[in-house]
């Protein structure tokens, strides 16, 4: 009886050890791949950083009108951003190679799914990036235009426009990623509908007289005689 138990334990230990032994090359391969990818990423990022600094990449980017990229980069340096993206990508690829050493079929399936989803991720990122750029541009346009028209609420308008565009682009990106599609659409519809309804109620009920007075003023406004204005610009 005891012999049989001992034999069973021995067999299970042998099986475990043989399984560990069979995993060991994979673990070593993962560590080696990770270390190598970190080294390669480090080397490449140093080379890339030197190259980008030598061609004055940061200044060129600003010169091409892409200053918003600089503002969003770590320490306001697009060079740093590019080198980090490249280094990160190399490390991720190294990890995938290392994981493939364990189970090639599992990883290949993972990679296939990842690559199938990648275009959606990229498109969503592009939508977010464009949304952010457009939001900033429109916000600035509205702010400058509003100030030049002497509107006291120019900043409020500008912030409103900015968030409207950002919310729209986030909703579009989430919709594209198929994350909570129904909820996003519903929430977005409620949000916009709510804003429009709130404005309509505010104008229709709260500020009815104010609006009518303002419209009356606009209609009855007589232009100031030119002689009163002493300034001539050009």
């Amino acid at each position: 009886m005891w012999d049989q138990v001992q034999q069973a334990l021995n067999q299970s230990m042998v099986r475990l050890l043989s399984q560990v032994a069979s995993l060991l090359p994979g673990i070593v391969a993962l560590i080696v791949a990770f270390v190598l990818s970190v080294v390669v990423a480090g080397l490449l990022s140093v080379i890339l950083r030197r190259f980008l600094v030598s061609i004055r990449f940061d200044e060129r980017l600003v010169h091409w009108g892409m200053s918003s990229v600089a503002e969003r980069s770590p320490k306001n340096s697009p060079t740093r951003l590019v080198t980090r993206i490249v280094a990160g990508s190399i490390i991720v690829v190294g990890l995938l190679i290392g994981l493939a050493a364990f189970d090639a079929t599992l990883i290949s399936e993972l990679v296939v799914r990842l690559f199938a989803y990648l275009p959606r991720i990229l498109t969503a990122v592009v939508v977010l990036l464009l949304g952010s750029i457009i939001a900033r541009f429109l916000a600035r346009s509205v702010l400058i235009g509003g100030v030049n028209m002497n509107l006291q609420y120019a900043r409020l308008l500008s912030v409103g426009v900015k968030w409207l565009v950002i919310v729209l682009s986030v909703a579009m990106a989430l919709d594209h990623l198929e994350i909570g599609t129904g909820i996003v659409n519903l929430a977005f519809g409620i949000l916009f509908g709510g804003i429009v309804l709130a404005l309509a109620l505010a104008v229709g009920l709260g500020s009815k007289e104010l609006v009518s007075r303002s419209l009356e003023r606009e209609v009855n406004k007589t232009p100031a005689p030119m002689e009163e204005e002493p300034f001539r610009h050009l």
């Binding site: 600003v62 091409w64 200053s67 400058i144 100030v147 030049n148 204005e229 002493p230 300034f231 610009h233």
Partner: protein, 414 residues
């Protein structure tokens, strides 16, 4: 601009004419009693330039009364300025200038005179004043010298004249005309420069570029006393567009001729032609509340944008200025000049969209106008002239600041 941009019928007429000594363009905007002036100009050309073959090109196919032609005096009418002039004056005038240059080159004219001011005040003396130095003394460019009231031509007084003087070293009072006498070689240079500029995405605005091109091309520049000019009324809703168009052209020329102006020191007068007219004294208080309000609103809301262009010290001074009471409001010349230079640098570096940058300058400009107006509330013409001169000197004395920031925008940031 290509010959194709000229209507077929006009092109055929130009072919028939062949060559001319002088091309006169009248870009009347139709608000004045133009016909009389065209007749006067016609008579003056006959009397003054009897032997010369002149072609008068007037804007509008039927806006002006028909003029009797002769062998040496030919009158052409075509729509030089598009209907969009009402909303946006500068580009259409630029296009009209380019059309005039194209016609002038086609006719191989020795001189081209463009009168863009309202014809109400234009006399025959304007044409002869602007063209005689070109035709008889080989001048490259003759600019006008108007008899201005204290608050007329403020954009020219506050930025265009002093910056042109400080950069290129010539005291040209109205470098952007808009009434100008231009030599044939300068016309050719302007036409040659246009495609090059288009290729780099920077369109040349001939009205702004004429003076820098003439100076940097080594041509002689003079100015003619023309008397009073009728200025278009101020459109406050369009002030930022005007500022953006004018300063955009000036700043583009700064980039184009950076090598030249960085070597220039001080300034010299250019020869004047004709007799200066006396300025009728105009005094009295002006209401600058709207201007100060605009400045203060800008200082409150545009700090974020200004901080991308202006160094911290300048920004601090602007903030301090915005807290001053309207009647105490004074913008020091040095501060104003540094602001203009910093915006020129921001334009060059494209710190933000160029259109945003130039429009964001509007409250600062209105602040300067308010300060200038308050200082000269009770001033006579002599005082106004001295005040303008002091501002020009500030532009010249601050030029090393511009040169340093232009050369080392990152390292030199006070």
């Amino acid at each position: 601009m290509e010959l194709d941009s000229i209507p077929q019928s006009v092109r055929e007429r130009l072919d028939q004419i062949g060559t001319a000594d002088l091309v006169v363009g009248l870009l009347s905007n139709g608000t004045g009693p133009g016909g009389e002036s065209v007749h006067e100009i016609h008579q003056a050309l006959k009397a003054g330039f009897g032997k010369l073959r002149a072609v008068i090109i007037q804007d509008g196919e039927s806006a002006l009364e028909p003029v009797e032609e002769s062998e040496s005096q030919i009158v052409l009418s075509w729509n030089l300025i598009g209907p969009e002039r009402a909303t946006s004056p500068a580009p259409s005038i630029s296009d009209a200038f380019q059309l005039m240059f194209t016609a002038s080159q086609k006719l191989e004219a020795r001189a081209c005179c463009v009168v863009a001011s309202d014809l109400q005040n234009v006399t025959s003396g304007w044409i002869s004043g602007l063209t005689q130095p070109v035709l008889e003394m080989d001048y490259g460019l003759v600019t006008p010298r108007y008899t201005n009231q204290r608050f007329e031509g403020l954009l020219n007084t506050g930025i265009v004249y002093p910056i042109t003087r400080a950069l290129y070293g010539k005291r040209i009072y109205n470098p952007m005309g808009p009434d100008l006498g231009i030599s044939g070689p300068l016309v050719q240079q302007m036409l040659a420069a246009d495609p090059k500029a288009k290729a780099t995405g920077n369109r040349i605005h001939p009205v702004a570029s004429l003076a820098p091109t003439a100076i940097c091309g080594g041509m002689t520049v003079g100015q003619a006393y023309l008397g009073a000019r009728v200025y278009p009324p101020v459109d406050w809703t369009n002030a930022s567009s005007l500022l953006a168009q004018v300063l955009g052209s000036v700043f583009l020329d700064m980039e184009r001729y950076a090598v030249h102006w960085q070597k220039t020191r001080g300034s010299v007068s250019v020869p004047d032609f004709g007799e200066p007219n006396t300025v009728t004294e105009e005094t009295g208080a002006v209401d600058v509340k709207r201007l100060v309000d605009s400045f203060q609103l800008g200082a409150r809301d545009l700090q974020e944008i200004w901080s991308l262009v202006l160094p911290p010290t300048t920004l601090m001074e602007v903030r301090r200025l915005s807290r001053q009471a309207p009647d105490q409001f004074r913008m020091p010349d040095e501060l104003w000049v540094r602001i203009v230079y910093d915006f020129a640098l921001g334009h060059r570096l494209r710190t933000i969209s160029r259109d945003h940058l130039l429009r964001a300058m509007t409250p600062l400009y209105l602040g300067w106008v308010a300060s200038f107006a308050l200082e000269l509330e009770t001033a006579g013409p002599g005082v106004v002239e001295r005040r303008r001169e002091r501002l020009c000197e500030a532009y010249e004395s601050q030029k090393p600041y511009l040169v340093s920031r232009w050369r080392w925008p990152d390292r030199f940031n006070p």
